[in-house]
Symmetry: C2
Subunit: 286 residues, 2 copies
């Protein structure tokens, strides 16, 4: 992923104007690092089936990261999580103001589609990727999940509803990342099974986040932990012990599925996913 | 435009979930009406050159209206204009809360690209339209304009900088609407001149808004007027009399250009534009 990180830094959004801080604010959260988990998934699938397309696929990986980054910026706003810290740095509304955080988020959301519209693929592939990112990152995907998360704060949900919440809020974009990789290499017959795998992976990821939120310090996480208050989380509903059991069970299921992938896909995704699948067992590994 | 209005109402975004107000909030500002000026421009160009494509072009017109509507919702937020009223109705953050207004805006932004990715055009045309909407509605277009507008509140700008501000904030999306019409009918040789015409039209539109903001009542405008405070406006910089002179001069220039359009384009756009070009002369016509 060093390769992707360098690509991202070379392709940061730029904007020349008399506004003294707009361009810097646009770039701030992108440059602040992060796990680049979604790009890694997309690029892993591409590398498994057509390594020659890896360079071009970085544009699609970047688009997903742009959309993900905008969502973090808006989730951190005072009206939502009111988080002072993200990726180890002050959040944009703290560094600048709320206006900047709202507008930078808006800009990165739109920019993700501009990047895909100009990525080095056929028009057919570009349209497929744009549709996939919009559907999973939009009003019946990530945004619905965030709306549910905010609305049902202080209104406890059952376990099925919280799974629906996080399927939308977290899992769909992760699943879309894998599927977009399959679209890029023209393996659309694999797209659906990768998507289903990604949904489960995203749910595991969220259960792990909820676990780490109560077991990890802010310094380890690079963001404020124990900050979820009365939000619905797997830990508040199931308790810590049951959440860890649920995570263990899902981790085992995903490990088995990973083993059943064909050789190339297993070779690419296994090093990445084995680490993530088990991250709730080692709270110092973020 | 009755046709477009009916189309929009039949194609409102839907979202079935346990969230009791999310779907209603998504639809609220779209159903509240509005001039549908950008859709009318796009559809006018299409009708001039290929009326058979008018039905399909409504999807593109809708995408532009979605992006425009998201921008109004975010501009009205407490951190920005803090407007209580829009399109004659309470704004979303008043009706629901800030979270809802932020998320509905985010959702409509993303949805505009989903609509274009599924519009009944060739993949080539879809990609061109998505690129155009994203470039003009994004970080070096509408969002930059809004960022400048907010940042330079209380910091007076010169006339050239305020033109740059409104070229980005207002004119580029209007220009893009005309250009997208040309792209749909495959008249890309007209796209650039229509774009330049649209930039001037957008500037006129903004000068007129600034004029109407001080000459019109809130009831007439369907939004809170005299609410721009210390924002840079043509009226605060040039004064009302000079602003009206500037609007008159630009209106004359645009009328001349409109006369020079070919017969079909003139026939389609003239009824629409003649009314808008002169709207600052008749403050009861919104």
């Amino acid at each position: 992923m060093q390769n992707f990180e360098a690509f991202l830094l070379e392709n940061l959004p730029t904007s020349k104007s008399i506004h003294p801080t707009y361009e810097k604010a646009l770039q701030q959260m992108l440059k602040a690092g992060g796990k680049r988990f979604r790009p890694a998934l997309l690029l892993g699938v591409v590398k498994a089936y057509n390594p020659l397309m890896s360079a071009g696929a970085r544009y699609a990986a970047y688009a997903v990261e742009l959309l993900h980054t905008y969502s973090l910026i808006h989730d951190d706003l005072p009206a939502m999580d009111n988080s002072p810290l993200r990726r180890g740095e002050p959040t944009l509304h703290v560094l600048y103001d709320e206006v900047t955080a709202i507008l930078v988020g808006d800009a990165l959301n739109t920019y993700s589609f501009e990047v895909l519209a100009n990525a080095p693929f056929s028009d057919y592939t570009r349209v497929k990727l744009i549709d996939e990112l919009a559907k999973n990152g939009g009003l019946n995907g990530m945004v619905l999940g965030q709306a549910m998360d905010c609305y049902f704060e202080n209104r406890p949900l059952g376990i099925e509803d919280i799974k629906t919440l996080h399927t939308n809020k977290t899992a769909k974009l992760i699943a879309a990342s894998l599927k977009m990789g399959a679209i890029i290499v023209g393996r659309e017959e694999l797209a659906e099974s990768l998507y289903v795998f990604g949904i489960k992976l995203g749910l595991l990821f969220q259960i792990q986040d909820d676990i780490l939120d109560v077991t990890q310090s802010s310094q380890e996480a690079g963001k404020l932990t124990n900050n979820d208050g009365d939000k619905n989380s797997f830990v508040t509903i199931l308790g810590l012990v049951e959440s860890i059991k649920e995570a263990d069970a899902l981790a085992l299921e995903l490990s088995d599925e990973l083993e059943s992938f064909d050789e190339n896909l297993h070779y690419e995704l296994s090093p990445l996913l084995t680490r993530y699948i088990n991250r709730h067992k080692n709270s110092s590994d973020t």
